[in-house]
Assembly symmetry: C2
Homo-oligomer: 641 residues x 2
């Protein structure tokens, strides 16, 4: 699947663009007047890299090299500045370009009839044993779009409603409702010299709370340049309706939506559409958890987005960017986001990308970083080969009362799956997979020996504590990642999933895995019921995107609170998009049966629908599924058609 | 020697300021229209660091934190923005400040009556086992001087001479001679809208060569902001004398000169003064090789500057900055400047800093980085424990015809000395030095067994090639670094140093070591003769600073050429300053006899002088040495006195 690109593009040291932008993303959180960079170590991109290209010219040609940074181009030993046309004589031409950039991303762009920047160029950071193939992205084909910028598309929105209102603090003013979530900037239309204050809100209550709204901008004038923020409402104290004109400029990375869902149940249709809207909002250069609050790239959240991706976008590029940005450089010392399970989920993410695309070239590129990470994990194994968090590691799994004494069952399940993934990756690049195969077998055996309780008919959290505590988590992972046997699965269903005595999953993060497990085990009616009530409940409350968490027993203002903060809840959170995945995979039954959708199956479960007219991507093609008069028809087509 | 500072200062992750500025320095080379970043891997400073400070307040107080970067201050769990006064209640106060900076150096400055930023703060990059003591520098005490800037002092100079001249290319114009080396910018006094071209030169011939001068700036107007460059002459084509007014703004890091030399020999006095001028010019934030061409920080050149430093400045700070900037981060994979011997010289530089200052606190801080580097070296040992360059390493030693087959003698001598240094450093921090002591003994034994040729009465370059080739280099190192026995030294004198059949040292870099060896062996007359003829020869040619290289048989224009470039020679090169060191150490006889000049000796060799009135620093004090009427008197005083 080696791609040859026929146009110039910006090139860089592979992974650098993603590492650069991932840090920028993790630096973008702001809250009530201060900035809040992520609290973990973030790897650096390279600051000085050397590009190379050798070619044989039949006739004289010219080219011009441009750089993001300082340096030179050298042709057969002679140096030239960037930005000037260079003449090359016929014969063997060895070109190098050294680009240094202390404050940004060193990158190269070469334009010419015979010579241009593409993936035929190699690059080194002066530490590599061998130069690597240069990195590039279809987002950065134009010289005028610097790879340090995000090539956002823009769309202007005007308020859907505008009304006079009084803030929580008792100040009269005007509340603007854009009727949809905006992630972008605001252009204030103000009389000259007039200064106003903007209070942003995902909800009207947040915008109306001058003290507790997350973003607030004082002394805004006509000329103010405002930061990119996520909001639906803006409250401006001390102005009357009509006195100020607001225009919102929504900014987004354009990733085409390739799925659609229409059935006879309007609620389901809306749930699907709002899932798609939620997922689009949380998909920029990277998969984000949410757009208002953290705006950090979390490996656990991203894993779920890799899984949803083929049922909405089928875009391999955002997966690659997110995997590369999260992972950083060789020589890893800290787990992703400091979380042990998030490192393991990253490795699973690489497998997912392969199964979705069949792209072995990417596997080859990322393999050294996967190996570097699994080596860190392997260095943390102890008794029976189980993985254990170090003092500085966060053994997260979920916000739940999990017994985390010694080795934790849920981590071992992920570790088994990560070793199986490494074994697959080794085979794909033609290497030896013995150690990973052996390791996963040994781990599986020991998981069943030490964590499986015949008495409980389930996996216990910890065998060291002696408490035999059962939570849903390890058991759900064991189902989702195919670690439990068929018999164990049936036992888990009875003793855990359908057992009301086992504490319920409370976070949407883990509900994602729970619903996936239920679908795999055939409990589609239960899942359909939950989709309609849980996601439908948010729609009933007027949501335009799906939330970080939803408790049907709560109403405004409590429904907006989280983490002890009255507006702490993100009202547009990536994991809220799971219905699109669940409907596509389990209800429409569209699933690959070999890597890269070389083969796939389409098995809609028709008993849930009277009518269907849906589209789901299956690789480069899209399948249209129609159910009418009890009969299913499918057709595939290329999106360009 | 723990210092407690009583004023606020900028603080950062230790080493980061030096790494940041060292990269900036290594990115500052320019040549004939293009930039030329250094061609090796440069480590990155941290982009996101967390500062901490705990204290107990007896009464309420306030402070304000400022950051170079984005982030927040947190006091007992509550976050505040930077730049606003924060009130602290009495009791235990735990303060943290997270500073992220993607494009520059994350740093913190805290002002308050009870709480301010100083070395009581710790800092972590989220990877450290324990937070480290924050880094700081006396250069950055003022909030208004950002640690991303170099706090240059400025001094304006007007041309000493201005005359009409014709360039090599035949264009008439005006040549400006500032009469001294400027390292700074130019303010052009021009009529509005007038555009001119500036051609810079360290020599008049360089400035008059519009094609081959290193720096040339076209389209200069009154408002042009010109880069910092090193020059003495500027040629402006197409203008008459008087038509343009040029003002040069010389910029420099103010490191006071504490040595002076006056004797009855005016030539020696001038050689000393020009040595000092040369050394000052090459001493900025870091020791540079030269000011016109590379402007990169080279570990070998820097080593010689550490050695010269106590005889001119006695400034420990520039040593520390250079050592930290060169060394970079833990996890080293590439030798300093890619050169094996330069890594070893870096370790020797740490010992030198300790012997000069007695500062064990710095030893403690830098020890992990020294250990990390020696581990890389130890990983490259093979037969008989000798160190050998890897494929990607440059085994430099000198530009000379050295037999570099297998292990090279000169590298082993440095390696022995580096292991001895590591042993000393271990003892200083209260650690075990066994492995280094054992290693250096074993190496010394094997050096004498395999590299010492009884037949030649000298060390041979390589024992593997069978050529028994003798060069001066290993033998000089063995004398300078006390690796050769007294008997071997005498043999080396006869068979190498005074043996005209052994090829002469041709580079001033190695002449530094050669003259040092000759002085140690008592050949002061020979050294004095060389100082007067070699350095005197440059003065005869009108030099205002000492050159990178000098061949008494050459005159202009050949004398300015080097590396195959007509103006490739740097006319202000740090190693040109060695006479100041040689005169101070061996002729005035000022030498420490214990670390940190706790004890020292002053033994002027009076037969060379009729009169002397000199000052040489001896730690915090300065010694004044007077020779008059055959009698030597000395007195010491504090420079402040």
């Amino acid at each position: 699947m080696a791609k040859k690109i026929s146009h110039p593009c910006w090139i860089w040291y592979p992974g650098d663009m993603e590492i650069y932008h991932c840090m920028k993303q993790n630096f973008s959180r702001e809250e009530r007047g201060y900035d809040w960079p992520a609290y973990w170590h973030m790897d650096d991109w390279n600051k000085s890299v050397l590009f190379s290209r050798e070619t044989e010219l039949e006739e004289e040609t010219t080219f011009t090299a441009y750089a993001s940074g300082v340096g030179y181009v050298e042709i057969n030993g002679k140096k030239y500045p960037f930005g000037k046309e260079i003449r090359c004589h016929p014969g063997i031409v060895h070109i190098t370009a050294l680009v240094g950039n202390m404050s940004g991303l060193p990158a190269l762009y070469v334009e010419g009839r015979k010579i241009w920047s593409d993936t035929d160029w190699t690059v080194t950071n002066y530490l590599d044993e061998q130069p690597l193939k240069a990195g590039w992205s279809p987002l950065y084909k134009s010289r005028s779009i610097s790879p340090e910028q995000i090539p956002y598309r823009e769309r202007e929105y005007h308020p859907a409603e505008e009304r006079e209102a009084v803030s929580v603090q008792g100040n009269a003013g005007t509340l603007f409702d854009f009727g949809r979530l905006i992630n972008g900037t605001v252009k204030p239309g103000l009389p000259p010299a007039k200064e106003v204050t903007l209070c942003y809100g995902e909800s009207d209550l947040e915008a109306l709370d001058e003290q507790w709204c997350y973003y607030k901008q004082t002394r805004v004038t006509e000329d103010s340049i405002l930061r990119r923020r996520a909001f639906r409402y803006i409250f401006i104290p001390d102005v009357h309706a009509g006195e100020v004109k607001l225009t919102a400029v929504h900014t987004y990375v354009d990733i085409p939506v390739r799925a659609s869902f229409h059935c006879d149940d309007e609620l389901l249709n809306r749930i699907f559409d709002v899932s798609v809207e939620t997922f689009r909002q949380c998909s920029g250069l990277f998969f984000l958890d949410g757009v208002k609050r953290d705006r950090w790239v979390w490996s656990g959240d991203a894993y779920q987005s890799y899984v949803v991706n083929p049922y909405i976008f089928f875009d391999p590029e955002i997966n690659k960017r997110t995997l590369l940005g999260l992972r950083g450089n060789l020589g890893i010392r800290q787990h992703l986001n400091t979380i042990l399970d998030y490192s393991l989920l990253w490795i699973l993410g690489v497998e997912h990308q392969y199964l979705m695309t069949g792209d072995t070239e990417f596997v080859r590129e990322i393999f050294p970083k996967a190996e570097d990470l699994i080596k860190l994990c392997l260095s943390q194994t102890g008794e029976y080969g189980f993985i254990v968090g170090r003092r500085q590691d966060w053994t997260f799994i979920d916000w739940a009362d999990i017994d985390k004494t010694g080795p934790v069952a849920a981590e071992q399940v992920l570790f088994i799956k990560a070793c199986e993934t490494m074994s697959l990756l080794c085979r794909l690049i033609g290497g030896q997979d013995d150690i990973y195969r052996k390791k996963s077998c040994e781990l599986k055996e020991n998981l069943n020996r030490y964590f499986w309780s015949e008495e409980k008919g389930a996996y216990i959290d910890s065998y060291q504590s002696g408490k035999n505590h059962v939570t849903r988590h390890a058991n759900i992972f064991a189902v989702v990642f195919d670690v439990a046997s068929k018999e164990q699965q049936q036992s888990i269903v009875r003793n855990v999933l359908l057992n009301a005595d086992i504490p319920q999953i409370t976070t949407p993060y883990f509900k994602f895995f729970e619903l996936d497990a239920l679908c795999r085990l055939g409990f589609l009616d239960e899942v359909m019921e939950r989709i309609r009530s849980y996601w439908g409940g948010m729609l009933e409350r007027g949501s335009v995107t799906f939330w970080e968490e939803f408790d049907p027993g709560q109403n405004a203002p409590e429904q907006y609170a989280m983490y002890g903060d009255p507006f702490g809840k993100s009202l547009c959170h990536a994991w809220g998009a799971s219905p699109a995945y669940l409907l596509g995979k389990y209800f429409l039954g569209v699933r690959p049966t070999s890597p890269g959708y070389q083969t796939y199956e389409i098995k809609p479960v028709t008993r849930f629908f009277k009518e269907l007219d849906c589209q789901i991507p299956v690789g480069k093609e899209t399948v249209r599924i129609i159910l009418k008069d009890g009969e299913v028809t499918t057709e595939t087509f290329y999106p360009e058609d």
